[in-house]
Each structure stands twice: as C-alpha cells, then as structure tokens.
C-alpha cells in the first residue's frame, strides 16, 4: 500500500510532501507547535511575571523536544544535530532548544527555590539571558526551516518566518490565559490578555492572508496547487474545521463575551485551548498542503 502510494506520488505532477506531517512525521509538527507555544509563553510570562506561565513554558519546551526526538528514526543520535548550525536551520533550532531548556531551568530554580540561588545571582541572571536567547531562536527558526525549502514553493515565502513568530506569540497568550484560568497569578488581567489575543490574531490573519494571496497570485503552479489543496482540496477540512472554526471563530466569540461581560474561568480555559489547537491545525494544514516543485516543467524546453 505504502509502496503503491509512493509510485503514485512519483508519477504525479505535483507530488505531495509526506516527509513531515505523516506517520512519524506528525511529531515534527507537534514538536514545532509545542515549542512555538513554549517560546511565546515564556515571553508573556516574563512580561507579566507569571511563575506558573514560565513553568508551563519550560514543560512545553521539554515536551516539544521529546516530540522532535520521536520524529527521528535514530533518536539516540540526536546530539549530532548540533553539528551544522552554520548552515542548517534545524541545527539552529536544536541549539535554541538547548539554550532555552538550560536557561529556563536555571531561572526557574531561582524562582521556585530562592534558597539555592536568586534570579539576581550569577546562575539566575545567566539562566535569564540564556533562556531569552533560546526563546528568540525558537520563535524564529521554525519559519526559516520551511521558508528555506526551495523544493516546496508554498513554504518558500519570506512571510513564513514572521507568521511563525506571530503564531508563537498567539500560543504564548493562550498559555498564559490557560494558567490564569486555573488560578495562577500574574500581573495581567484577563481583559489585557484578551486584547493581546485580538491584536496578535489580527496580525496572524493578515500575514496568513497575505501569504495565501502571494502564493496564489505570484507563486508558481506548485504554490497555487498548495493553496488549492488548503482551501478546496485534501486539507480543506482540517483548515476550515481546525484553523478557522476551532482556532478563530470559537476563541473570537469567547473573547467578545469576555470583553463585553463577565467571562468565566472555564470559558477562558476553553478559549486558550481552542486557540492553541487552531494554531496546531494551521501548522498541520500548511505543512501537509506543501507539494513539491514538479521536476519536469514546460519551461525546461526539452526540445530545441
């Protein structure tokens, strides 16, 4: 069955990418999603001094790292991924995760067990700086992993990294909303977080619309095919159901309810989870919608 599908893919003009997002490759998408949320959560939790938010960010980053390991066929060789940071965005992401996990651990020790060392001490300050550097790398690298792929024109967009940063921020707000819905304390009010969610979601929608428009109007046939697959083809259900309905409409309605009246903690928790799941489906849909550049095109001029 798998073999027949491969043969079918090789014969197809637009070969869907199946390396990531299918089979074990789903863990690559999960890893990218979770790590993105972790980076965003760390930023917002730092800004609003949420110890629970910072802890959640650390846990999520660790889980994201684990998902990346599951994606590998030889996880025991994971350390080799540190080797090529000068050219490979995946290797840079690896370093980002190492920095983040190490730094976040040092900083969290200072927050939870100040008897060991404080956040102002050398280990605490070092952890703070390292985690911040890791956070920036984690937010930035994912989009570049995709946009640097010349093989899949739909991903090969300059907007992709910005979109992934925006999604990380949106995920971070969702994470902070979630921990606050469960009673954790921070300097942010729900209204403030809801306004952040609205603003960042508007940016996400704008970037995503621009990217789709660019691929449809300025992209080649493979990019247009990906847009078609996303909006009216094999990924339409996941896009409309997951990204739009679950990730945009449900949270938007809950945000509206929260800003115009008294929102329950349960509603905030649902909002956070729906928003995060929507982000996952956005990544999943766009990754799966990627099709390879046809090897043989008319422009090659096989004849004189």
């Amino acid at each position: 069955m798998r073999y027949e599908r491969l043969i079918e893919d090789l014969r197809a003009e637009f070969r869907p990418q199946r390396a990531w997002g299918e089979g074990r490759g789903i863990f690559m998408v999960i890893g990218h999603f979770v790590v993105g949320v972790a980076a965003g959560a760390w930023l917002f939790a730092l800004c609003y001094e949420s110890r629970a938010g910072l802890t959640l960010a650390f846990v999520l980053a660790a889980l994201g790292g684990l998902a990346h390991l599951v994606n590998l066929a030889h996880p025991a060789r994971f350390w080799r991924m540190a080797a090529r940071f000068r050219s490979s965005w995946v290797a840079r992401g690896f370093w980002g995760l190492v920095f983040f996990l190490t730094g976040a651990f040092l900083y969290l020790v200072a927050l939870w067990w100040p008897g060991l060392w404080t956040s102002g001490s050398v280990p605490g300050a070092f952890g703070y700086a390292l985690a911040l550097a890791g956070m920036v790398l984690l937010m930035g690298y994912m989009g570049f992993v995709y946009s640097s792929s010349k093989a899949i024109p739909f991903w090969n967009s300059t907007l992709h990294p910005a979109l992934y940063v925006a999604y990380a921020l949106r995920g971070g707000i969702a994470a902070l909303l979630l921990v606050q819905a469960f009673g954790a304390h921070s300097n942010a009010s729900f209204a403030e977080l809801l306004l952040w969610w609205l603003g960042v979601s508007a940016v996400v929608v704008a970037f995503f619309a621009l990217e789709l428009h660019g691929a449809w109007t300025g992209g080649n046939a493979a990019a247009r095919r990906s847009v078609h697959d996303l909006l009216a083809g094999r990924m339409a259900l996941s896009f409309y159901g997951g990204t739009l309905a679950l990730g945009m409409l449900v949270p938007a309605w809950l945000v509206w309810s929260g800003l115009t009246g008294e929102a329950s903690l349960q509603a905030m928790a649902v909002l956070a989870l729906a928003s995060a799941l929507g982000d996952f489906f956005m990544k999943y849909s766009t990754i799966r919608a990627g099709v390879h550049l046809p090897v043989w095109t008319k422009s090659h001029g096989l004849q004189r």
């Binding site: 290797a91 093989a151 096989l302």
Partner: protein, 200 residues
C-alpha cells in the same frame, strides 16, 4: 575535478535500463529509485509523441540538502559527489524536504519485494542498506574507484548517458553541454546541478 553526467534526450527511448541497472547494482529496497525515468506525452492526436526524462540525484554544486542537513550526514566529496554518511543520519528527513528534485528516499524498514519473504538475492544485497536513514544516488562511487562508469551509464543501450569531469573543458561532457546547449533542471533555484540534459 567535478564529476557530472550528460543525458541525451534525443537518444533516450525510455527503456528503463538505467533504472533497472541501478536497482541491480545497489540492491535498493522497494520504493527506492536512485535512478528513474519520467514520461510525458506531448501534442494531440494524431501528432502525439512521448518524451522521457531520466532523473537521478543532481549532485548540485550548491546542494540544498547538504545545507539543510543538521548533522553533516549529507556531505560533498572533493570530486563534487553529494553523498550520505548513514552513521550520522538521524532520519529527520530535512534533506528530503530540501531537495527540489525529489531524488532522496527514506528507508524506514527492512523490505522485500515478494510476500513469501526475502529472496537470497535480497538477503545479500539489501542487508547492507541500513534502515531509518535517507538514501540516494552517489554516482556509483564504488565503481568510479575501480575505474568503471556508473551502472546507469554503462548499461544504457542507446548510449544516451555520458559521464566525465565538468571542470575539464576538453572532456566529452563539457563539450556536449557547450555544443548542444545542455541544460540543467530548475536552474532558477541556483543549485547548480551536475546533471545536464541535451535537448530532444
């Protein structure tokens, strides 16, 4: 020194000898084709003709797979051949996503062609391919070391394939590219492939 290949599309008859000889030489598992032939029909009845495009790893000078590989498993020899060190490959498939020509394959499990189990041939030839790693054409590097041509070149019945040093302006491949307008696939990507085609 930069090994390269020229494929004359005027001579190619789409017989799949290259694909088969490659399979026989490397004993690749099901679903892995270091060399394959694409077919396309052109025109409309009654003026229809079939075109063939044999493809393989392009051993790009600016190989995106080498750049994207996080471990250094994908690398380039001094003679321009892009190869994979299977001991370093973690199976992340980043190179497969990066290759614009779709000439990398993932060998996820030990496979055989027939339901009754692996044949003796498969046992002897496929066992040397590790699983959980990406595989690709290496211009039959082991044959080059013995002074032989790559299997697909040596076994092409119509002599549609030429192999030589692209850096040497007097080599047959350089001459053919120059005289007959050899072109590479997707030159707009800036990958600078080492496989060239002569127009049909």
């Amino acid at each position: 020194m930069r090994w390269g290949m020229v494929i004359d599309l005027k001579r190619c008859i789409g017989c799949y000898a290259c694909q088969l000889s490659c399979k026989a030489e490397h004993g690749t598992p099901p679903g892995v084709f270091f060399a394959r032939v694409l077919k396309q029909e052109e025109g409309s009845y009654p003026s229809v003709r079939q075109l063939f495009l044999p493809v393989l790893c392009n051993h790009c000078e600016e190989a995106p797979c080498v750049e994207a590989c996080p471990t250094g498993a994908s690398f380039k020899w001094d003679d321009g051949i892009v190869d994979i060190d299977h001991d370093k490959c973690v199976g992340c498939k980043t190179c497969m996503v990066a290759c614009p020509y779709g000439n990398r394959y993932f060998n996820d499990q030990a496979q055989h062609y027939f339901p009754q189990g692996p044949t003796d041939y498969e046992r002897s030839r496929m066992a040397r391919h590790p699983t959980g790693v990406v595989m690709k054409c290496n211009f039959c590097r082991h044959r080059l070391k013995e002074g032989k041509l790559p299997a697909c070149v040596a076994n092409c019945p119509t002599v549609a394939r030429y192999f030589g040093d692209l850096d040497d302006p007097t080599s047959e491949v350089s001459r053919l590219i120059k005289e007959r307008g050899g072109f590479a696939l997707h030159p707009e990507l800036g990958t600078r492939p080492s496989v060239f085609y002569l127009p049909a």
